[in-house]
């Protein structure tokens, strides 16, 4: 199956494709063949993980959280100290005078207003190019303030679920596409940017910059829902911003890349992932090639890279990242 098409369909909520034997390339088949009799114990994995991440525990999580906090606080300080570096909020802003517009907010405005001003267009093009180069849903995990709160809520959820005090009710992933269409149609036919009314991203960004609002109660409700009833429900099943940036990510050169060669298929990566379906290629006999790019729904958060005991997952920039054929000498921190 075509990798782009697969990436696109998964973004819309399709289950990952299970390749038939014929679809798996001979090189990949060979690797699977040699892995057949391999037995891996938990101790082996821990030892491997220690070795591969000895100098860099949660490296990407740390970098990502710092980035996310810095970006959001640049908005805050820019206004609070009146230094005019990053004016506005996440929905639309100006970086040292240059227009930027959140693609989803801009889309809602265009659908509702049915006119596009040149400033908005400049903002859209700028942000499109930026996130095209950086990976699309990279916005979600590296910038969106709700993502950070939801990540903390997720930790709490997992803790409580382990004690049996919280549940993880799953929803059909296609429902996010349904929401995407609903909010697009609502914008067109009501003439209001309906999604902005419930967008926790916009609400949080404005609350940080302009002060707390009652709307934060809605954000709190969403977080409580995620803590007690459904893991990461908003990002996984509702948020149209994720689809908008995911669409940019389909064609983005920056992505996580999977190398099946050393993979033990134990699934540590899928356990930490917000969108584990994108990592189904790490299941045995799911990868059709030795090296596979991870799909557009991936937020490029790097949790899987930090979790992988064998460094089988890494960031790559298509065309720039060099993958040495010799697997033992492979370095994985290249971006």
């Amino acid at each position: 199956m075509n990798i782009l098409k697969e990436s696109f369909l998964q973004l819309l909520g399709a289950d990952p494709h299970k390749p038939s034997k014929e679809e798996i390339k001979p090189a990949a088949q060979k690797v699977y063949f040699y892995k057949k009799d391999e037995k891996v114990t938990k101790a082996d994995l821990v030892a491997l993980h220690e070795e591969h991440h000895k100098n860099s525990k949660n490296k990407w999580t740390k970098r990502r959280w710092i980035t996310l906090i810095l970006v959001n606080f640049l908005f805050v300080f820019s206004y609070a100290l009146d230094i005019q570096v990053l004016e506005g909020a996440l929905t639309a802003s100006r970086f040292v005078g240059f227009h930027m517009a959140d693609l989803n907010s801009a889309l809602q405005v265009m659908l509702a207003f049915k006119q596009v001003l040149i400033n908005l267009l400049i903002g859209i093009v700028t942000i499109f190019i930026l996130w095209f180069l950086l990976g699309g849903r990279t916005f979600c995990s590296w910038v969106c303030p709700y993502h950070l709160l939801a990540e903390w809520a997720e930790k709490l959820h997992l803790f409580l679920a382990a004690k049996g005090w919280a549940k993880d009710y799953k929803f059909d992933r296609r429902v996010r596409t349904v929401f995407y269409i609903i909010f697009a149609l609502l914008a067109v036919f009501t003439g209001y940017t309906v999604y902005e009314f419930i967008s926790p991203t916009g609400i949080l960004s404005r609350a940080l910059i302009y002060g707390p609002t009652l709307a934060l109660a809605w954000v709190a409700f969403l977080l409580l829902f995620e803590v007690f009833l459904s893991r990461r429900a908003w990002c996984r099943y509702v948020c149209p911003i994720g689809i908008t940036y995911g669409l940019v990510g389909v064609i983005s050169p920056l992505r996580v890349s999977y190398n099946m060669m050393d993979c033990k298929h134990e699934g540590d990566c899928r356990n930490v992932c917000l969108v584990p379906h994108v990592l189904d290629v790490t299941i045995k006999n799911r990868s059709t090639e030795v090296r596979m790019p991870i799909g557009a729904d991936c937020t490029r958060c790097g949790l899987c890279i930090d979790a992988c005991p064998t460094s089988s997952l890494s960031y790559e920039f298509k065309g720039l990242t060099h993958h040495p054929e010799n697997k033992t000498e492979e370095k994985h921190d290249s971006v």
Partner: protein
Amino acid sequence: MSDENLSEQGRPEKESAQQAQPKPAAKKNIQRGPGRRKQEARRRFLRSIAMTVGVTSFSLLGFIPLAQGSRTRLRPPGALGEDEYLASCIKCGQCVQVCPVKAIKLDDIDSGFGLGAAYLDARAQACDFSCDGLQCVLACPTGALTHDLNYAPETRMGFAILDKPKSCLAIQGKGFKGQVRGPDYDGLLRYDEIDRWNPIPVKDHPYDLELCDLCVRTCPIEIRYNQCEAGKPPSGDVNQCPPKRAITLEPIESSDGITRMRPVILDGCVGCGVCEMMCPVEPAAIVIDYNTVAKA
């Protein structure tokens, strides 16, 4: 999102059995048989429909505050008609950030789809046009504040009305002495004669007036009109000159036969709200009607 799903808690035993299964879906299904799988799929489907209905319904609650169909707030200079304004505002607050008197605020969730959209509370802080260049309009990335507007006198935010003539000091023939809104009021106003470039707190500029004419003497349009008449247009730019007067005191004969002065609002009024802010009686005798505008 809530009700339907919360009701799922009614059958926790079955659910927890489902949840406790290890991850790989394919294996689980073989072990558990197609019946259980179908049941879970059906539940997931129903749950998803419930969530769709729930979240969509909640999002539509944003309609309620708009149901009356007219403006519910005083909007910044250049704001399009209410429906177009709410359609085009991207809720970023760049107008908030550039306003020198911090007159602009962003609405909360109780304003429905107006959440995050800019408005002014004239009584708390009116737009005194002390930026001269309509900074909020220039800052707006979507044209929700129309870029067709260049100068303060072209603005049409609303129209002042003498809402409570009986409490108007001028009509009562009274003067005014002291701080207009008391010592605790934080509103700002630019006084050309004090500092052309920086607005100062209203409380720092007390008055001593024989007859209260604050709504007229602080009106930004009237100030510009008078400057232009004196041959000194703001910044030397005749484009800043208002074509019409905005407010004046006119004599009226009251029932007791005495002639008194009454504020009369004229077609030059832009609805900026300075008169409402500067009216010293509580509540203000003159207010902005933001659903009416004078002809441009």
